[in-house]
């Protein structure tokens, strides 16, 4: 066996396998490049949807929107997730990465896929949106690019699983794998399902575009495509929840309240999260209500339960860690005294709030079988998923990046004062953006639509003035968020390539230490709860959770009330 080289990061104590390290860097850099392209296209899209600006002509708008959707929702996130998978296996378990050469093959396939797909969209012949619903045709290259990318990502998933096997075989850790690795494994399992579903639908669609198959049934396409399209967002959920736990551990030394609950919640994701794909088919012809109700509720909302559990245990674990350090006065001293100037923490915490309060609540509400009638395909939908994907996933990945720049890239973060503000600008802008989109959607403004004035159509329609105001706010807050995103890209790229090196050049050696179990917890007299109030270890978080639930309940009933006002239908 060839010699395996490792280095230990003096600041974090993490041990990096050299082959894994370079793969992580390559995937993370590719991810940021995709984020940059996605951000530039985002600016063009948002400036077109801002009625007072209405920047692009119609054909260019649909083309750029296609590019934005694919590059952000698929390419940026999956590149970063592959880096996260390598980190959570090789680095956290202190083990050599399985088959690094295949890792480079996977990377090459993914990059090729991106180029082939993006060139096809840029040619103007594949402006079919990310969903590419049949029978609207795209060029064969469009599907081929996606297939190549998916194959590459699938190889990355199996490298992760292989690395887990090696770690167990070579006993590089003691006991069970860490919670964060467990969460990453959840993401990986969901990814294998997702990418397989993508292959099952995109390969026949590619053959159809080549003329080898005569028809693809549109209802079947939607069913299988969304097993890919929505499940890919569930990879994000599992991945960014893992990142939340990781950041809580890194910044605060927080430990899960209980391993059983957090891991059980991840297990619920594996079992039930995929069913959420049915959300997209709630007003489709040809499916029964029984099917819709079972699937849309992810089997009685068991996956929602899982997210509500993580929403409690992540801040709860931080609260317990902070209380143990003495920040235990009242309900919220632990939160007030949190390091709000550290972008790794602030980004992660804004991500928790945005994902839960905005993305989570809106997702469950619009995913209710009947309520979907008043929301389907309005701009409410992108409002919702920008809260889950951008506030939830992208912001937590940004937060993790601030930690990785010194640790993985061995560079200091440049412009620390700017970095301190970046999560607030990006997160704040995105919160206003998503809420205004949801408001406009409630007024019937459509998604993927070039002209809300209907100036070119035979029969017009006038939206209320408030809809125009909201779309104006969408424009302003969208630009603010994009500026926040640009600041992130700027800081990251400059730091990685031109930042001051951290410490001395670390040397690589063959020896690694074994990853030991966490220190057994020393409980205060009276157990865990004694540091909190009312026998609750994390009373502040619990009050916070109740506040969340009350908003959830009110908003849920408001939407039923709204639904009851539309025409009776059966």
């Amino acid at each position: 066996m060839s010699q395996q080289l490792f280095r230990t990061c003096p600041e974090s104590g993490l041990q990096f396998h050299r082959s894994a390290e370079w793969l992580m860097r390559a995937n993370a850099v590719a991810a940021v490049v995709m984020l940059l392209i996605g951000g530039i296209t985002a600016l063009a899209v948002v400036l077109t949807r801002w009625p007072a600006v209405h920047l692009l002509p119609a054909d260019r708008f649909y083309q750029i929107l296609t590019l934005h959707g694919i590059n952000m929702l698929i390419f940026w996130i999956i590149f970063f997730e592959i880096a996260v998978l390598y980190f959570c296996s090789s680095t956290l378990l202190r083990v050599r990465l399985a088959t690094p050469r295949l890792g480079w093959l996977a990377f090459a396939l993914m990059v090729t896929g991106v180029i082939v797909n993006n060139l096809s969209v840029l040619s103007g012949n594949s402006s079919v949106m990310m969903t590419s619903y049949v029978p609207m045709p795209a060029e064969p290259k469009f599907y081929l690019g996606l297939i190549l990318f998916a194959v590459g990502a699938l190889i990355g998933c199996f490298i992760f699983l292989g690395t887990l096997v090696i770690a167990k075989e070579e006993k590089t850790y003691e006991g069970s794998i860490p919670l964060v690795t467990f969460g990453a494994m959840t993401a990986c399992i969901i990814a294998v399902f997702t990418i397989s579903a993508g292959a099952i639908i995109l390969i026949p669609t590619f053959m159809w575009s080549m003329g080898w198959i005569t028809t693809i049934d549109p209802a079947m396409y939607r069913l299988v495509w969304w097993a890919f399209g929505h499940s890919s967002q569930q990879i994000n959920v599992a991945a960014h929840v893992s990142v939340w736990y990781a950041i809580a551990a890194i910044v605060f030394g927080a430990k899960p309240l209980s391993e059983k609950v957090s891991r059980g919640a991840f297990l619920l994701y594996i079992l039930f999260l995929q069913l959420a794909s049915a959300h997209h088919l709630l007003v489709d012809p040809g499916l029964s209500s029984t099917w819709k109700i079972f699937n849309t509720s992810y089997a009685m909302y068991l996956a929602v339960l899982a997210s509500m559990v993580h929403g409690l245990t992540v801040p709860g674990s931080i609260e317990v860690a902070q209380r143990a350090k003495g920040f235990s006065r009242g309900l919220f001293e632990w939160l007030r005294k949190a390091p709000w100037g550290n972008p790794t923490f602030s980004g992660m915490f804004i991500s928790v709030i945005g994902f839960g309060f905005i993305g989570g609540i809106s997702g469950v509400v619009m995913g209710t079988e009947q309520i979907n009638i008043i929301i389907h395909n309005t701009i409410y939908v992108p409002g919702h998923f920008h809260a889950t994907v951008v506030l939830g996933t992208t912001l937590s990945f940004m937060a993790l990046t601030y930690f990785l720049i010194p640790v993985l890239f061995r560079r200091q973060v440049m412009f620390p004062a700017l970095a301190k503000w970046q999560p607030y600008l990006f997160g704040g802008g995105m919160m206003v953006f998503t809420l205004s989109m949801m408001g406009a959607g409630t007024l019937g403004v459509q998604r993927r639509h070039w002209d809300m004035t209907f100036a070119d159509s035979l029969m017009g329609f006038d939206y209320p003035a408030s809809a125009y105001t909201l779309m104006g706010i969408v424009g302003i807050s969208g630009v603010a968020a994009i500026v926040g995103g640009a600041v992130f890209v700027l800081i990251t790229v400059l730091s990685v390539f031109f930042g001051k090196r951290v410490g001395s050049e670390s040397s690589y050696g063959t020896a690694t230490t074994r990853l030991m179990r966490a220190e057994p917890e020393v409980l205060p007299a009276g157990g865990h709860g004694a540091a909190g109030l009312w026998g609750f270890a994390a009373p502040g978080t619990f009050v916070f959770a109740l506040f969340f639930l009350s908003i959830f309940v009110v908003y849920y009933w408001v939407n039923w009330k709204y639904l009851a006002s539309v025409w009776p239908m059966s």
Partner: protein, 183 residues
């Protein structure tokens, strides 16, 4: 740094729950079940449910049915394109075509009466979005969706396509006219 380390206890699944977790799980599970039960309950007690009645069809067969209705019940034409305005009797089957980039024909329905509204696409996927009442459904080629609707609001409604269907997508606008029930 325990979430990135193996659990302290070897038998971590035997570690008891914190009270805060147990309480929250009980509350969250209860809420989940309430939300789940609401959907079947609304099928029983609510008035806004999709029938899920749908048939396979072809553009030719669907066009023929729509044309028959148009021939029988057209009352006038509107717009430069002379789009027929069709006023079928209450309770009847009403057909609406979605195609690039038009909703055809214009329907005239009586307020408070019930109709069986059929919708199908002739070509790509489309989105039926009725504004300002705000009813949205997905329209697929090859599938004929049937909605039993009772317009109970005054004022004409506009149909906007809300599934991207190509370069003319944003011009795909149609009408459902609502007349007050004179009788």
């Amino acid at each position: 740094m325990s979430a990135i380390q193996p659990p302290a206890q070897l038998l971590w699944w035997k570690q008891p729950l914190d009270r805060v977790e147990g309480t929250w799980i009980a509350i969250a599970l209860t809420w989940s079940l309430i939300m789940f039960v609401m959907m079947p309950l609304w099928h029983v007690y609510g008035k806004q449910n999709l029938s899920n009645e749908a048939y396979r069809t072809t553009p030719e067969a669907y066009m023929a049915k729509t044309q028959a209705m148009v021939n029988q019940y057209t009352v006038r034409t509107e717009t430069d394109q002379q789009i027929p305005v069709v006023s079928p009797p209450p309770g009847s089957d009403v057909y609406l075509i979605a195609r690039l980039w038009q909703w055809w024909p214009i329907l005239e329905l009586k307020k408070g009466q019930t109709y069986r509204l059929h919708i199908a696409s002739m070509d790509y996927q489309h989105g039926f979005s009725l504004q300002p009442v705000n009813i949205n459904t997905q329209i697929l080629p090859g599938y004929e969706m049937v909605l039993t609707i009772t317009p109970d609001t005054s004022g004409d409604q506009t149909i906007i396509c809300n599934e991207f269907c190509g370069i003319g997508h944003h011009t795909m606008v149609g009408k459902i006219l609502i007349t007050e029930n004179g009788s």
